[in-house]
């Protein structure tokens, strides 16, 4: 027997309010954080700030090398983690039947996703920097970020590929396509919107990391040219500026640039995904 406290009409109204308020709070928080960073940071941002080298450890001058470092490590992470994540997802969905190995891979990926980023950083130091001898470099930093982005890319891709209707696969096999042709020409193109979303989620996580890269990428103030050069991505620079009391003003400026880069990536990729989705689905 259930106890009725409110009539269905009233409980419906209450729940409507709860959902609307939750939505508004979520959006407010987002606007608040981004707004705060932009208001505090934008006064420090100028073309000169973006395109010049730091002076006196970043107390004066700009953040050009940090922007290059950020793009560098993120690109390396993307190049390494994207094919691995998609490949693993394809294996799980199209090749492996639901066996022990699949469960272990899925468990491994979930565990990987929950490891604190500072632990990734420590692993990066011992494995990439010292053991593999890659030194403090954007390569080491990028590889650490690849490991961090991998579970996200893998999980989102797996869910997306699983949701592709099996009727597409049947249609393809029915025309005499091989498994690879079916995956490459039908399944993956249909899954692209979801996969791109996963890649962007993973990349935006990677681009915002200070702790994961701090032991692997070095802290160089000059522009990294080769992948073996050390660098200093924006979040790390921000962290150093703030914790060492170098310049809070420039720390906010750096944060504003970072937020703008992340926003730009998210907005542009969402727009492109929508456009592609509408095209293939004929909307």
């Amino acid at each position: 027997m259930s106890i009725k406290i409110w009539s269905p009409k009233i409980s419906q109204k209450i729940m409507n309010a709860v959902f609307i308020i939750s939505g508004i709070i979520t959006i407010l928080l987002l606007v608040l954080i981004i707004g705060y960073i932009l208001i505090k940071g934008l006064p420090a941002v100028s073309l000169e700030f973006i395109f010049s080298d730091p002076i006196d450890s970043g107390k004066y001058g700009g953040i050009f090398p940090m922007i290059v470092s950020t793009l560098y490590v993120t690109a390396i992470a993307g190049v390494v983690a994207t094919p691995l994540g998609i490949g693993a997802a394809v294996y799980m969905t199209e090749y492996a039947s639901e066996n022990k190995l699949v469960k272990i891979i899925r468990f491994g990926s979930e565990t990987l996703a929950s490891i604190p980023s500072i632990v990734f950083g420590l692993f990066g130091l011992t494995f990439f920097v010292l053991f593999l001898g890659l030194g403090w470099s954007v390569l080491s930093g990028g590889l650490v970020l690849a490991m961090m982005a991998l579970p996200t890319i893998f999980q989102v891709s797996e869910v997306t590929i699983t949701s592709i209707p099996s009727s597409y696969r049947e249609g393809s096999y029915g025309l005499g396509a091989t498994k690879w042709q079916t995956i490459y020409r039908v399944v993956l193109p249909a899954a692209i919107p979801g996969i791109v979303t996963g890649v962007i989620l993973g990349m935006t996580r990677a681009i915002s990391e200070a702790a994961a890269v701090m032991f692997a990428v070095g802290a160089s103030l000059s522009v990294p040219i080769s992948i073996f050069d050390p660098g200093r991505p924006l979040p790390l620079h921000l962290y150093i500026l703030a914790t060492e009391g170098i310049s809070l003003e420039n720390a906010y400026g750096t944060a504003a640039v970072l937020v703008i880069i992340v926003l730009a990536i998210t907005i542009i990729s969402n727009w492109a995904v929508d456009k592609y989705q509408n095209k293939i689905m004929g909307r």
């Binding site: 249609g171 393809s172 025309l175 005499g176 396509a177 193109p189 293939i280 004929g282």
Partner: protein, 250 residues
């Protein structure tokens, strides 16, 4: 002349015995309808003919299926080539989320045709054969997902025709379509039967009488009766067939 011959075919999914001692022949360039209640094995049967059941993990078969005298379950048989020769149209229209053009060109591309003139020509021919060309010729680059259900199903037929098959299997191709689209598909079947051997699974007995020359009645995994469609519907030899077509069960 017979295009397909089936001898002592038994099909199992795990422990379930789905098809029992099927013996039948499918004549060249005719339409054969498979009728019977749901779950009687009709779909499993046509999926055995192009080895689509191979995709189901616990599928097992005994007996032989011959296409033009060649055993299609022979280990040397190239499944890719077989499915090119035996095309399939599914119950629910399943165009790929690609442009109309790319849907029809798909089979050609996967079999190595990359010449644009040839692709254009084959796509146009196939769409014309499927009676869809006039409706889509100005929007070939649009997504196939934007077409109506009936158009999508004719696109799937065009996609199959583009492979230049010998046999077209149709698994209840009209069950998801409205009556007007159904009529169009049936007209199309009449047009296609001069060039292709068509096997159609249908739940609609009027449809069987309208489109087919031969009919096989399936029940519980067995073929109860096969005959000329006219004979089977006017003068069924078996009591079970008569009960089914007169609507006493199923």
């Amino acid at each position: 002349m017979n295009r397909i011959e089936v001898k002592d075919l038994n099909v199992y999914f795990g422990d379930a015995h789905i098809l029992k001692d099927i013996n039948t022949e499918i004549a060249k360039n005719t339409v054969t309808a498979l009728i019977g209640p749901s779950g009687c094995g009709k779909s499993t049967f046509i999926r055995t003919l192009n080895r689509m059941n191979d995709l189901i993990p616990n599928f097992r078969h005994e007996g032989d299926v011959y296409l033009d005298g060649k055993d299609i379950y022979n280990p040397k048989m190239d499944v890719v080539d077989l499915r090119k020769k035996i095309g399939m149209v599914f119950q629910k229209p399943n165009p790929f989320p690609k442009s109309i053009f790319e849907n029809v060109a798909y089979g050609l591309r996967i079999h190595g045709v990359s010449d644009n003139d040839k692709l254009n020509q084959r796509v146009e021919e196939s769409l014309k054969s499927a009676a869809l060309w006039d409706e889509v010729k100005d929007k070939l680059d649009n997504s196939a997902m934007g077409l109506s259900g009936g158009q999508q199903q004719r696109l799937c037929i065009a996609r199959t025709i583009a492979n230049n098959p010998e046999v077209i299997l149709m698994d209840e191709p009209c069950s998801a379509l409205d009556p007007i689209s159904t009529t169009k598909i049936e007209d199309l079947i009449h047009k296609l039967k001069t060039e292709y051997t068509i096997i159609i699974v249908t739940h609609n007995m009027q449809q069987a009488t309208r489109v087919s020359k031969y009919t096989s009645f399936f029940l519980n995994g067995e073929i109860i009766e096969s005959n000329l469609t006219d004979k089977i519907f006017i003068d069924p030899k078996n009591k079970k067939t008569e009960d089914y077509i007169t609507g006493r069960f199923g």
